[in-house]
């Protein structure tokens, strides 16, 4: 290095003063940049700086656009432009010149050009397209530095669509003799993998080569890709576990060159990367975990030195040990490690120790117990970050015994906190804890009051919603509910009598609803008083109109009492002419309902929470009105999506003139044909518009929906859920018998001893005992419920679980491990069906077989059942595709029982479905009493998901509710009256129709089934079902002309090269036939070396494909009106061809 500096310095005299040099800040300060920088530092005001920079930018602008500026000067100008941009002034005029500099400059000018580009532009900037050619040229350059620069810029940003253009060149670089080039090429591919995974699908085996590269740097780079791929699909890379372990062993053993040491620790970055990969591979997988125990132990042992970097490795080791299948002596060592972190005087380590504790506390609550005094100290730490992390830890160990103390600490923190993000987060947590563990009514209401006033209008909207739900549904005895409501009313009345102006809007909304609904419970409270308090809210100028409509609604309920008629009239008059339509609506309601008590009693019955409200969602009572209107000549109603489609078609019309100039033959008659329906739809589009308008009017009513929902919904929901979850917030943990309590007490009288504080003061001791109370007794429960915390979205529903944590079952699919009754049951049928393996058995016979099944449980089949279980929960795309491929390739009815369990459940398929092509029946989840399996059936115009619910217990299961949801799919129930009860040892079936909302390579449905056994609390089981997009693909039969016009009107496209298949036949035809068979595409026409294909995604989402044979590859171009559909489809085409 020093040579170089020397060389550079000796070369200086020959350089222009423009060039800044390393190690010579003073020299460069004479340059123009130096002048600029010094000029700025001398300025005193922001205003002066702005003036100076504007002047500078003007001069740069003038120079860059002058034709006489040389590339060298350009380079200098670019540096100045970068400087101005980094100060926050826009210099967009220079972007194009940066690209030009990268294109035309010599190597060092190019370097600045590329740097400027990477700083100025981001991935989606359109100018980036201009860089593609430069990159292409530089990748092919013989100058290694140019290649390096091109690879560097590519791995930072590259337009996604242009990846195919440079991909072959980058791939080629993987074989380059220089390791620096190989390394950069691997990182470029990593970047491509991140932004467009399907583009690099075909080079996965090259990644393996990079992993085996003799240069450790290249190998390290390839781990980035592996980490990403394993994160997405751990099942696919289990075979590499041993290799990763070997690499880690070598690294830990110091086998790498000294260059890779960092503060005499061998390649720490590499170690951490490997540990992360191992933890992903070993998660929930005992046999894979066993391979790594030894090396983990070794890593723990080696990392002894007292340096940050060894702690980094230790921390990652600990995380890994707690993630993979547990091994007791490793856990012990890891726990000790965490202890060292927590007790460390270094604040960073302490923080990470707390984090690690938070991570493991569910598995090992005793660990928190060991460190309770440290945790208490951290609660009062001056650094808010430490405090915050401690609260997070406490949140995880909260139970019914320590909830008051922990919530108090959290609220204390909230009061002093100023950061919105933290407030939102903590407020949610407090609300969750309060709902789960509240020890009493008063405490609950008061805590929620604080939540509402502190959380203000930032908090998640589901907090007030579920609070009101809880209040209206009640959760305990009628008397307790009444007390709770009464207490809420009292509390709110006194709040309103204070200073309501300070309360957040959301809180005011909650208050108005509660007063409207329940103030009558307090008999001595005059409705007029409440009315006055509410009217005061209306008069405050900071009250939002949303809140006002809540207030009006509350008043409408209050007029029940009759005495307040006068003031109600006044209010409704004031707001009857409001500009806000929702408010006006509410005011009208108030007016009418206050006059008509009969109607009021029907609309707003008192104590409606107890009466189920029947909602006619089909609006059948309007049928008469509709038919009358139709008879009078009104246009029939069209749903919004249909209207939109027609509008889109109308838009497509405008493209016609351009279409005509294109070579696709289009007879005039076909235009006429097309035009007439379009014209028609135009006119109907107009009428559609008018409905749209009214729709817009009602879009403000959307808000009104929000208001209404609370009381409108309650009846409906109460009916559904009140039974489902007899939420008992106050019931103490059933596990705690007095003797256990004594045990718990004794255990923490012991635990403080190992803490380092010699004389912990009384107060802290006391706090500790209240915080960690009940923790030790709960430990057994927690160990059972090891796993992740309950997912947030199931939080509300799971509140019943809290009270009976031991009994409640929360089985998420990934956790199903014990061979349960359903597995046995399925296996039994394997035996049964062996005896009666004919296909044509009547279904009644099958049912009887089924019901006999579980009576003869057979343990020997467990392993088999488990392995299939594993297949499904592992999200291995190839497996899923494999089984889909099977279905698609064999379009004849799927009569052949793929597996015995498939066979026995399949007999439950309704006749109209059993003849159709479908997937294998796969178990979703199961427990002692009930099992869920599912398959999807390919109907011509839809995809039906059939879910089988098998009752394997001896008693009937009642109130079964199946709830499906999906990010990518629209799920609707097919059966009109879903089965709610399943008698003992029988099977019920639910059908759902699926359509794609948002295309994705694989789509997933997550679901939850809740049910009630004859005894015990309501139960819930979660599951997920994954299916490939190809299940939704159907052929689209169009003529070549139609194809031509459609092609022009679609806006989303993608291009890709596919491999050709040549087994005897003509390659193009052979390849297209494979695609046709596997993916159900429709081949429109094959002309010479080109072919056009059409398909549709259910329903009516077309995708067109244009293929041309080019050398020995098939260049494919896909177009569709649906974003992402082309990308997903090309992925499946690749897979289909690969598997062929």
């Amino acid at each position: 290095m020093s040579d170089v500096v020397e060389k550079t310095l000796t070369a200086l005299p020959s350089l222009l003063s423009l060039d800044s040099q390393p190690g010579s800040a003073k020299l460069s300060s004479t340059s123009k940049l130096g002048n600029l920088i010094r000029g700025i530092t001398e300025l005193t005001s922001k205003h002066e700086e702005e003036k100076l920079i504007q002047r500078e930018l003007a001069s740069i602008k003038e120079q860059v656009s002058s034709p006489n500026t040389s590339m060298r000067q350009m380079k200098e100008l670019m540096v100045r432009a970068i400087y101005c941009e980094s100060l926050g002034y826009e210099a967009s005029f220079s972007y194009i010149h940066a690209i030009k500099l990268a294109q035309q400059g010599t190597v060092l000018e190019k370097r600045v050009g590329y740097l400027a580009v990477s700083l100025f532009l981001n991935e989606s900037h359109e100018l980036l397209l201009l860089l593609v050619n430069t990159v292409l040229k530089d990748l092919q350059s013989t100058n290694l530095i140019e290649v390096c620069m091109a690879l560097t810029v590519v791995s930072q940003m590259f337009p996604k669509d242009m990846i195919p253009a440079i991909l072959p060149l980058v791939e080629e670089k993987l074989n380059h003799p220089k390791e620096i080039i190989r390394r950069k090429a691997v990182l470029a591919l990593y970047k491509f993998y991140l932004i467009a995974p399907n583009q690099v699908q075909h080079i996965h085996n090259k990644f393996r080569k990079a992993l085996c590269d003799k240069d450790p740097g290249v190998m390290t780079a390839s781990l980035h890709i592996y980490l990403q791929m394993i994160q997405e699909n751990p099942e696919g890379y289990k075979d590499l576990t041993a290799s990763f372990v070997t690499i880690l062993k070598q690294v830990v053993g110091g086998k790498l060159p000294m260059d890779f040491n960092y503060h005499s620790v061998p390649a720490p970055w590499l170690q951490i990367q490997l540990l992360r990969i191992l933890s992903l591979l070993g998660k929930n997988d005992q046999s894979t975990s066993e391979i790594m125990y030894e090396v983990l132990d070794e890593s723990l042992r080696r990392a002894e030195m007292n340096h940050n970097i060894t702690y980094a490795i230790l921390y990652e080791c600990v995380k890994c040990i707690y993630t993979i299948h547990p091994k007791s002596d490793l856990l012990e060592k890891a726990a000790k490690c965490i202890g060292n972190f927590v007790l460390s005087p270094k604040i960073n380590l302490k923080y990470l120790g707390l984090k690690a504790l938070t991570y493991v506390v569910q598995q090992d609550p005793k660990l928190a117990l060991q460190h309770q005094m440290t945790i208490i100290e951290c609660l009062d730490h001056p650094d808010l970050i430490i405090k915050r992390e401690t609260l997070e830890l406490l949140f995880r160990i909260t139970n019914a015994q320590n909830v008051t103390v922990i919530v108090e600490k959290m609220l204390e923190f909230l009061h002093s906190n100023t950061d919105d993000y933290t407030t939102i987060d903590l407020v949610g947590k407090v609300a969750e804890l309060a709902e789960k563990y509240a020890p009493g009514n008063e405490w609950f209401i008061e805590t929620m009051n604080t939540v509402f006033s502190v959380g203000g209008d930032m908090m998640q909207p589901d907090i007030p919603n579920s609070f009101l739900k809880l209040l209206s549904e009640g959760f305990d005895t009628v008397e307790e509910d009444r007390k709770l409501r009464l207490f809420a009313v009292d509390s709110y009345v006194s709040l309103l009598q204070g200073e309501p102006g300070k309360l957040p809007q959301r809180f005011l909304q909650v208050i108005s609803w509660v007063l409207g609904e329940y103030s009558h419970l307090r008999e001595e409270l005059e409705p007029a008083t409440v009315m006055r308090l509410l009217a005061k809210l209306l008069d405050m100028k900071q009250t939002s109109s949303e809140t006002k409509s809540w207030v009006l609604l509350a008043m409408t309920k209050l007029v029940r009492a009759g005495q307040v008629f006068q003031s109600a009239q006044e209010v409704s008059e004031t707001y009857g002419s409001s500009m806000d339509t929702v408010l006006r609506q509410r005011a009208q309601e108030l007016q009418h309902l206050s006059q008509d008590c009969e109607l009021r009693a029907r609309v707003l019955p008192q104590d409606a929470g107890l009466e189920p409200l029947e909602v006619d969602s089909s609006l059948s009572f309007l049928d008469g009105f509709v038919s009358e209107a139709l008879a009078a000549g009104a246009a029939p109603y069209k749903p919004p999506h249909q209207r939109q489609e027609e509008l889109a078609q109308a838009k497509a019309l405008s493209l016609e003139p351009y279409g005509l100039s294109l070579p696709i033959s289009m007879s005039s008659c076909s235009i006429a044909d097309r035009q007439s329906p379009t014209l028609l739809s135009m006119s109907s589009g107009l009428s559609g518009d008018s409905t749209d308008l009214s729709h817009k009017g009602s879009s403000t009513t959307l808000k009104l929906d929000g208001v209404k929902r609370v009381w409108g919904r309650e009846g409906y929901l109460a009916q559904r859920e009140a039974v489902e979850e007899a939420a008992q917030v106050e019931v103490p943990s059933p596990l705690r018998s007095p003797s256990q309590q004594a045990e718990a007490d004794s255990s923490h009288s012991q635990t403080p001893t190992p803490t380092p504080t010699p004389e912990p003061d009384q107060e802290k001791q006391q706090l500790a005992s209240s915080l960690f109370f009940g923790l030790s007794s709960q430990s057994s429960v927690c160990l059972m419920g090891k796993s992740e915390p309950t997912p947030q979205r199931f939080r509300r529903k799971a509140k019943g679980q809290a009270s009976s944590s031991g009994a409640a079952e929360q089985i998420s699919n990934s956790l199903v491990s014990a061979p349960s009754a359903v597995d046995n049951f399925l296996c039994n049928n394997l035996l049964d069906s062996n005896i009666t393996s004919q296909v044509g058995i009547s279904s009644s016979e099958q049912t009887s077989e089924l019901s006999q099944g579980p009576a003869t449980t057979n343990g020997t089949c467990d392993t088999e059942a488990e392995s299939t279980d594993g297949d499904i929960k592992g999200s291995n795309p190839s497996l899923i595709i494999g089984d889909n491929g099977l279905v698609a390739a064999d379009p004849t009815p799927h009569k052949d029982p793929g597996s015995p369990k498939d066979f026995c459940l399949s007999s439950h398929l309704p006749a109209e479905l059993s003849e159709l092509c479908r997937s294998e029946i796969t178990p979703l989840c199961s427990n002692q009493s009930l099992g869920l399996s599912a398959c999807h059936v390919h109907k011509e115009d839809s995809l039906v998901l059939v879910v089988f619910i098998t009752n394997s217990s001896d008693a009937a299961i009642r109130q079964i509710l199946l709830d499906l949801d999906s990010e990518q799919l629209q799920v609707s129930c097919v059966s009109d009256s879903p089965v709610e009860d399943v008698t003992s040892h029988s099977v019920a079936m639910h059908q759902f129709s699926l359509t794609v909302k948002r295309p994705s390579v694989h789509v997933e449905v997550v679901g939850m089934v809740s049910y009630q056994l004859p005894v015990g609390t309501p139960q819930e089981v979660q599951f997920s079902y994954k299916l490939p997009l190809t299940s939704f693909i159907r052929p689209l039969t169009v003529s070549t002309e139609e194809y031509g016009t459609m092609w022009l009107s679609f806006s989303h496209d993608t291009k890709q090269n596919l491999t050709l298949i040549s087994d005897g036949e003509e390659p193009l035809t052979a390849t297209l036939n494979v695609l046709k068979e596997k993916l159900q595409l429709h081949i429109v026409e094959i002309i010479g070396m080109e072919g056009i294909i059409a398909c549709q995604l259910l329903r009516d989402q077309p995708c067109l494909m244009h293929c041309r044979v080019h050398a020995d590859v098939l260049a494919v171009w896909l177009r569709s009106p649906v974003p992402d559909l082309p990308d997903c489809l090309i992925y499946h085409c690749q897979r289909a061809l690969q598997e062929h």
């Binding site: 550079t8 390394r183 960073n348």
Partner: protein, 159 residues
């Protein structure tokens, strides 16, 4: 890693590298708020922050703050060492680096960063290799300045 910022004790931004696509407006907002938050922290406080939904790791060297935003599963301590290694590289290259070196030669600082971190991941952790790569490019600068065509200078063995 999502981004790296270098700023002075006065809150002046010295270097910024973004590894996630964000609009300029967002970048400015994040920078402004984050600089404020970090500067408000006392010297003995923890180097890690949970800020909005990001994990922030920062460290102060003399008058400069180095600040990285990392993903949730990333290791905080190793990120501190990434910062440290970057400082070591700068130090080696500039010869006991100071803030002025970075101000006046910010493009060099960027080059070194790009050679060390690529696309937000540690690319080359061997100090020798990073500096070698930078030297190669700098050497070219010298050669081309003295009139030789770079193409003729480069032969594969020297890179």
């Amino acid at each position: 890693m999502q981004f790296m910022l270098l700023f002075s004790r006065q809150g002046k931004l010295r270097l910024q590298k973004w590894y996630v696509p964000l609009s300029d407006k967002e970048k400015k907002k994040i920078t402004r708020e984050l600089v404020q938050t970090v500067l408000a922290r006392k010297p003995k406080m923890c180097s890690f922050l949970e800020w909005r939904d990001l994990k922030i790791v920062y460290k102060r060297y003399a008058s400069l703050y180095f600040c990285c935003a990392i993903e949730d599963q990333d290791n905080e301590l190793i990120t501190l060492e990434i910062i440290h290694r970057y400082v070591e590289l700068l130090d080696k290259y500039f010869g006991s680096v100071c803030e002025l070196d970075i101000i006046f030669n910010f493009e060099k600082a960027y080059f070194i960063l790009d050679e060390f971190l690529l696309g937000g991941e540690a690319q080359e952790t061997s100090k020798k290799n990073v500096l070698k790569a930078i030297e190669q490019a700098d050497l070219l600068q010298e050669v081309s300045n003295t009139g030789l065509h770079p193409e003729s200078f480069v032969n594969p063995s020297c890179v």
